[in-house]
């Protein structure tokens, strides 16, 4: 446990250092004193600098929170499906959220007009929720972990096919908007949106911590969990709601971000000695934050030439392969 606390503190420090780097590094060289002035409400010589600093600050916060949220969602799904390869991206949850967003951007559904800025988020949540519900329904009949994972993958492909159809029939400006969104980015959130984003992901992640006891039992098997008096049905609803909301809000505001949700829980399990999810969930959140903020820093160091999705894949995929080989040799044989 002591080692785990040191790891947690270490990761928090890494997040802090990376965020500071993200704030001070960029194409436009801004003196640290000016950055400090802007963050403390002062003014600077070049008016655009305040916008640049605000953008750097907001995207750092969004990167930290989005990475953390996706890692927590991945951990919940891995425990619930008892499958180390589960995650919002693999199981089609992200694709479901993408479909909701695409129906608004490409399909001309005017939910945004009705519900204001919440329209995209609502559509994303509904999409993610429906995919997860469908997957849970299928899991009643498919007990094998690998088969269920393949079903999730197929659901993701099916939803992607629907997205392609929408894309083909959309007009040029809509497809342009959708392509940009699809590349992924932690940038572009205004102050109020950023606060809302942090609150939603934060509350959802806290909700995950409240389910820690149930998750601890479930990690040992459904029957064992039942014998501990854990209400599996309530836990199931909790997992669906938390993962759908996190996957949807991150997908809506940042695009479909891949690999963080699978890679981080794997890595944390390797580093941590604890099996208690009340501790593993915060650890996963901070681990996801490290991956999120470092990915954004790499995007910016490449002068935005590398899309966020490419960077998370480049970091995440090797981690997944490595952990699969290390943790589960049976997977490596497949």
């Amino acid at each position: 446990m002591n080692k785990d606390i040191i790891v947690l503190i270490g990761l928090v420090l890494v997040v802090f250092v990376l965020a500071l780097l993200n704030l001070t590094t960029g194409v436009v060289k801004i003196p640290f004193s000016d950055i400090f002035d802007v963050l403390t409400g002062g003014s600077v010589e070049n008016e655009s600098w305040s916008y640049i600093i605000e953008n750097r600050f907001n995207r750092s916060i969004v990167g930290i929170v989005a990475g953390g949220g996706l890692a927590v969602a991945g951990l919940l799904l891995q425990v619930f499906f008892r499958n180390p390869l589960a995650g919002p991206g693999v199981l089609g949850v992200t694709s479901g959220a993408s479909l909701g967003v695409a129906l608004i951007i490409l399909g001309g559904i005017t939910l945004e007009g009705i519900a204001g800025g919440l329209g995209l988020f609502t559509a994303g949540v509904i999409g993610a929720f429906l995919v997860l519900l469908l997957l849970l329904f299928i899991s009643r009949y498919v007990k094998n972990q690998i088969t269920l994972l393949v079903v999730g993958l197929m659901l993701g492909y099916f939803v992607s096919a629907l997205l392609n159809v929408l894309f083909l029939f959309a007009d040029q400006s809509e497809t342009r908007e959708y392509v940009i969104w699809g590349l992924g980015s932690f940038s572009g959130l205004k102050n109020l949106e950023m606060i809302g984003f942090v609150l939603v992901v934060g509350i959802s992640s806290f909700g995950a911590v409240l389910m820690a006891k149930g998750l601890n039992g479930l990690a040992l098997g459904q029957e064992y969990a039942k014998s501990l008096g854990i209400n599996i049905r309530t836990l199931r609803v909790g997992v669906i709601v938390v993962t759908s909301v996190i996957a949807a809000i991150v997908t809506v505001f940042c695009g479909p971000i891949s690999f963080i949700g699978i890679a981080v829980p794997q890595l944390i399990r390797l580093i941590s000695t604890s099996k208690n999810h009340a501790f593993l969930i915060p650890l996963c959140f901070v681990g996801g934050s490290v991956l999120g903020i470092s990915s954004d820093l790499l995007v910016r160091l490449s002068a935005n030439s590398l899309p966020l999705n490419t960077v998370t894949a480049m970091i995440g995929a090797p981690i997944i392969i490595w952990t699969i080989i290390k943790l589960n040799k049976s997977f490596a044989k497949i």
Binding site: V28, N46, E47, S48, Y51, I180, S185, S187, S305
Partner: protein, 367 residues
């Protein structure tokens, strides 16, 4: 089986995919020969027996060279794949920009297939395409061979950057010709491609007269030197980057001819230049003008532009109301704009208060 294979090869080698062409009627020799002054991307070569249209790459671009032979008499070139005994009267176009040239000669009826019909916004040209039953022959950016074969064009005018698609068309017996008017670096050079189309439609005199008229007006409006106190930035971001034209691009030349000075004048290259958004945000506070060509609602305003990103309020051009805007949704910038560079120049001059009493057609100051 041993006999079957050579037989199959023999039969397939005898199948002629080309329509049988008449060897009695030839294209009449042109009444007047056209001279190319500005354009570097094509040539018209005249001989006694044929006219050869050549399109080619311009320095700095990937190399390509393409030619069409228009036969005026029987000679050894008759067997060339891209030789015509009669003028092509059924066309497919990969770019809607070609429609401007074709429409100038009132020949839209020859366009049987087009890539991206949906992007031709409502208006005269669109109406004619609908009446003529012009077919969509592309899916996204990919040419659909079956759709092209269905329209059975005499000639498919293509971009030079889709070589594999061109090869595929030609292997199916479709004659193609590369049109790369967008690579030209002077607005009058792009207009001059009208002369190439004039040869195909046998309307050389009309093209020459119009070109001379526009050339005279354009040159009379051109300002002597770009004013370094009137710097401009260009375009809107795509994601987190701004893709701005190279300093020697056609649009930059047009704006320089109006007396403006490109902010990224010293950046070399022939392709678009990528700038991270932070850099343009910073430069935007220093640039006097901001020129935007974008698809926006009909009554798009300066206030709406600022709503797109609050950082724009810090741009000098926004503060001084010097944002010059062309709405590609409502104007024919990508169609008739190609053959009306003098009007675009006038628009810019009007926006920069160099001329008065004028109604702009393509560019206007955002209010």
């Amino acid at each position: 089986m041993r006999c079957f294979l050579p037989l199959l090869i023999f039969i397939s080698s005898c199948i002629n995919h080309q329509p049988q062409e008449s060897d009695n009627n030839f294209i009449p020799s042109p009444k007047s020969e056209l001279e190319i002054v500005y354009a570097k991307g094509f040539e018209i070569n005249y001989t006694a027996n044929h006219t050869v249209l050549v399109s080619k790459s311009i320095a700095g671009n990937d190399y390509f060279r393409d030619s069409l032979i228009l036969q005026h008499a029987d000679n050894e070139s008759c067997s060339a794949f891209k030789s015509f005994f009669e003028m092509p009267r059924s066309l497919n176009c990969q770019s809607s920009t070609h429609l401007a040239y074709i429409d100038f000669f009132d020949q839209l009826g020859t366009v049987k297939g087009l890539c991206g019909i949906e992007y031709v916004h409502p208006g005269k040209i669109n109406d004619e395409l609908v009446i003529n039953g012009t077919q969509e022959v592309c899916l996204g950016e990919n040419i659909q061979i079956e759709s092209v074969l269905k329209t059975n064009p005499d000639l498919f005018m293509v971009y030079p950057f889709a070589i594999s698609q061109v090869e595929s068309l030609e292997s199916n017996g479709i004659k193609t010709f590369m049109i790369a008017e967008y690579l030209e670096t002077h607005p009058l050079a792009r207009l001059e491609w009208l002369k190439l189309f004039a040869v195909i439609f046998e309307q050389e005199e009309k093209a020459n007269a119009y070109f001379n008229e526009v050339e005279e007006e354009y040159n009379s409006l051109t300002q002597m030197e770009p004013d370094s106190n009137k710097k401009f930035i260009f375009n809107l971001p795509y994601g987190e980057n701004w893709f701005t034209p190279s300093a020697n691009s056609l649009i930059v030349r047009l704006l320089e001819d109006a007396g403006l000075y490109y902010f990224y004048q010293n950046e070399v290259g022939t392709e678009n230049i990528t700038h991270p958004q932070e850099q343009v945000w910073s430069d935007g506070t220093k640039a006097d003008y901001w020129v935007i060509i974008a698809d926006r609602p009909d009554d798009f305003s300066l206030a709406q532009l600022q709503e797109e990103n609050s950082v724009y309020t810090s741009f000098k051009a926004v503060k001084n109301h010097q944002v010059i805007f062309c709405n590609s949704r409502t104007s024919d910038y990508f169609l008739t704009g190609v053959i009306e560079p003098h009007l675009m120049l006038k628009d810019i001059l009007y926006a920069t208060h160099k001329i008065d009493n004028y109604t702009p057609k393509y560019f206007r100051l955002l209010k």
